[in-house]
């Protein structure tokens, strides 16, 4: 029973993370704002507000339309003083 519960939690968390990471930034922001709207309700618990704020920050971070492997340094043809100068 406990084993099944642990596995269910891990699978749900992985699914949520994968969906979030692959979502475009605009969709993530939309989702974060929806949560923020719910958190703004009178009966909403305080942790929901904190979660909404975290989601909004995370939505703007790398992911979605970007790619975690994509900070590879593009070849720099010149490393002399700044261009234009």
């Amino acid at each position: 029973m406990l084993e099944g519960l642990i596995v269910a939690i891990v699978v749900l968390a992985a699914s949520a993370y994968a969906a979030w990471a692959l979502m475009p930034v605009s969709a993530r922001l939309q989702l974060a704002r929806t949560v923020a709207g719910i958190a703004g309700g009178p009966a909403a618990p305080p942790w929901l507000g904190r979660l909404a704020a975290r989601l909004e920050r995370a939505a703007l971070r790398r992911g979605g339309g970007q790619c975690a492997a994509c900070d590879a340094r593009p070849a720099a043809p010149d490393r002399r003083p700044p261009a234009g100068g």
């Binding site: 084993e3 099944g4 642990i6 596995v7 891990v10 699978v11 992985a14 699914s15 993370y17 994968a18 990471a21 692959l22 475009p24 979605g64 339309g65 970007q66 790619c67 975690a68 492997a69 994509c70 900070d71 590879a72 340094r73 593009p74 070849a75 720099a76 043809p77 010149d78 490393r79 002399r80 003083p81 700044p82 261009a83 234009g84 100068g85």
Partner: protein
């Protein structure tokens, strides 16, 4: 601006020079914080204006820092603005009354063409020999008086980055009479012969002025004569790339074996520690079998990037760009496409973003469309798995057969990109060819620190990727491969009855003509999120399909047993063209501001991949039996 009483008419001075000549540093030295930054009318080229008062005659100088230009024949918008400003062709911008042409004293050959063109315009001018201290310390020899005589315009030394480094220039400006307003100048674009004549004149002037480059510089010039030679250059480039791909396989063997053992040991430990059940299956088949089998390829990725960083640091990559410009021009691509395409070997996303440097929209779209055909690093684990499983590790002459195959796959991607570019540039995206103008940096020994930092960053990115999105997808795939459980009395492996098994069987109908079994067909789906996930997905699927204990370490032998060589070659062909990962498609949409281009990209890449795999499979099956 100060409140001094200015006894003379203000003088409009333009600072002109090739990029990186230290022009902006000199502008800052002259004007300090008295600057106004705006744009030239109607364009996004920065206009920087400042002012200062001459120390002796109290004359007010209004100074404009013009965009860098190699000559008056523009190849960029920046250069066009500079030319038009100097000729007095810009609306609301009278021609400058005086020009200070800033030249880099350590690179006179490149800088003097612009000086001669300005002199021929008849603009009152002084040449500021900037970085003269650096030139002297590096061993450059030049007789300034002779240079001044040969050019026929005043020449002064400046050190823009040093306090008081503008002293000689200020003295010269103050000593000159006000030239008075200038009318727009007549100018026509020089012919090829005229440009050649100007270059000959540059060489003559430098010789007459006793210009001697240091021994090291002369040796490097000789080296460039070989490296950039039309025949020797491409041969050297091919040899360098060849060596890189050989090393990716031969150098990585030991560290890969170590990671492999560590992954297997961890799997064994979990198997011994946990009773048979869901959690053990999740950890062993999903996490270790999936993410673990991707982690094994870390050494190969690091070796590839070791060479990329070293080649970049050494100054060789811009030379490779120069060599390949002719090839790119022959298919109609802009020379500026080289850097975005080179970046795409790491990942198509930064490559596509780097196309912003291409001013022509059609050139840019053509580059975006072919960027995914450059073999990104995420494809390396897929190639490496199949090559290790099917290609024997034996020498072919001085080469290693596995490295040879990998090299061929990279070349196939490049050739496919060139072919697609050729078609696009002759149909929907036709434009004139714009040559690449590139200042070649000096050669350097790669800095060990740069190498180590670059590799560390790359390793972090890869491990983070394995530990986050790949791990998450493997867990989801494990769930889909484990549920629903087999019905009572089922005889096949449980995965056959799962969601993933059903999906794999459905997809098999589409991919069977390519020789793909249902496991491969299924693995292609999460591979859309990230290419290397295919390897992890195969690890998880095979782990659940068989009773083998260490799939992470036996994946290559397992696929070698279950696939035919024709299937393996077909999958390699698929991944040369494979439809892009989601991140790339989203970035294409964002950069093109339209869904038309990503949809076209998916369609043409899918058609190419399917066609290439189909032909490969059929031909290989016919030949191999």
């Amino acid at each position: 601006m100060t409140a001094h009483a200015h006894t003379l008419d203000p003088m409009r001075v333009a600072l002109v020079g090739v990029p990186n000549s230290g022009k902006t540093a000199l502008f800052n030295r002259l004007t300090g914080s008295r600057q106004k930054v705006a744009n030239y009318a109607g364009v996004t080229v920065e206009r920087k204006e400042g002012a200062f008062v001459g120390p002796h005659r109290q004359r007010l100088y209004r100074v404009l820092d013009l965009p860098g230009a190699y000559s008056l024949t523009p190849t960029t918008l920046d250069e066009a603005i500079t030319r038009d400003f100097l000729l007095g062709r810009l609306a609301d911008e009278p021609a400058p009354e005086f020009v200070v042409c800033v030249v880099d004293a350590t690179n006179l050959r490149l800088n003097l063409r612009l000086v001669l063109e300005l002199r021929d315009l008849g603009v009152p001018m002084v040449v500021a020999l900037n970085m003269s201290d650096l030139a002297e310390s590096r061993g450059y020899r030049l007789d300034h008086a002779l240079l001044e005589r040969e050019l026929g315009v005043p020449v002064v030394e400046t050190i823009a980055v040093e306090h008081g480094g503008d002293r000689h220039l200020l003295e010269k400006l103050e000593s000159l009479p006000h030239p008075g307003p200038r009318l727009p100048a007549a100018w026509s674009e020089p012919s090829f012969e005229q440009i050649q004549r100007t270059h000959r004149e540059v060489r003559r002037i430098l010789q007459a002025a006793g210009y001697i480059e240091p021994l090291r510089q002369r040796a490097l010039s000789r080296l460039d004569e070989v490296v950039l030679h039309p025949i020797a250059g491409p041969a050297i480039l091919a040899a360098v790339l060849f060596f890189v791909f050989q090393a990716v396989f031969s150098w990585a063997a030991v560290p890969m074996a170590l990671i492999d053992h560590a992954v297997s040991w961890t799997g064994g430990l979990i198997r011994q520690s946990l009773p048979d059940g869901l959690l053990r299956s999740l950890l062993v088949d999903g996490v270790i079998g999936g993410a673990g089998s991707v982690l094994v390829f870390l050494p190969q990725i690091l070796i590839l990037f070791l060479f990329i960083i070293a080649l970049e640091d050494s100054g060789y990559l811009p030379r490779a760009a120069y060599l390949l410009d002719r090839l790119m021009g022959s298919v109609g691509l802009s020379g500026r496409a080289f850097i975005p395409l080179l970046s795409s070997f790491a990942c198509a996303v930064p490559g596509i973003m780097a196309t912003r440097t291409i001013p022509n929209l059609r050139d840019r779209l053509a580059t975006i469309m072919i960027a995914p055909l450059m073999t990104c690093s995420a494809r390396l684990p897929v190639y490496a798995l199949i090559i290790a499983a099917f290609i024997s590790n034996r020498p072919v002459g001085p080469f290693n057969l596995q490295g040879l195959v990998l090299f061929t796959l990279y070349v196939a991607g490049i050739l496919a990109a060139m072919a697609v570019a050729y078609l696009l540039k002759r149909t929907a995206l036709r434009t004139a060819y714009h040559p690449l103008l590139l200042e070649l940096p000096e050669y350097h020994w790669p800095h060990v620190n740069n190498l180590l930092i670059g590799l560390w960053e790359r390793a972090k990115v890869f491990v983070r990727r394995v530990g986050t999105i790949i791990l998450a997808l493997m867990i989801v795939l494990w769930f889909l491969s484990s549920f629903p459980t087999p019905p009572p009395g089922a005889t096949g492996p449980p995965i056959v009855y799962s969601f993933a098994g059903m999906l794999g069987r459905a997809l098999e109908h589409v991919f069977a003509p390519l020789g793909f079994n249902w496991q491969i067909s299924l693995a292609l789906v999460p591979g859309l999120a990230a290419r290397e996930v295919v390897v992890g997905a195969l690890g998880t699927v095979y782990s659940l399909s068989t009773s083998a204990h260490d799939v992470a370490s036996t994946l290559a032998p397992m696929v070698a047993q279950t696939w035919s060589l024709a299937t393996a070659l077909s999958l390699l062909a698929w991944y040369v063209f494979a439809p892009q990962c989601l991140s790339t498609l989203v970035v294409v949409k964002r950069e093109s501001n339209s869904w038309r281009y990503p949809l076209f990209m998916v369609a043409y890449l899918f058609a190419l991949a399917y066609g290439a795999s189909f032909i490969t499979y059929r031909v290989a099956s016919a030949l191999l039996g």
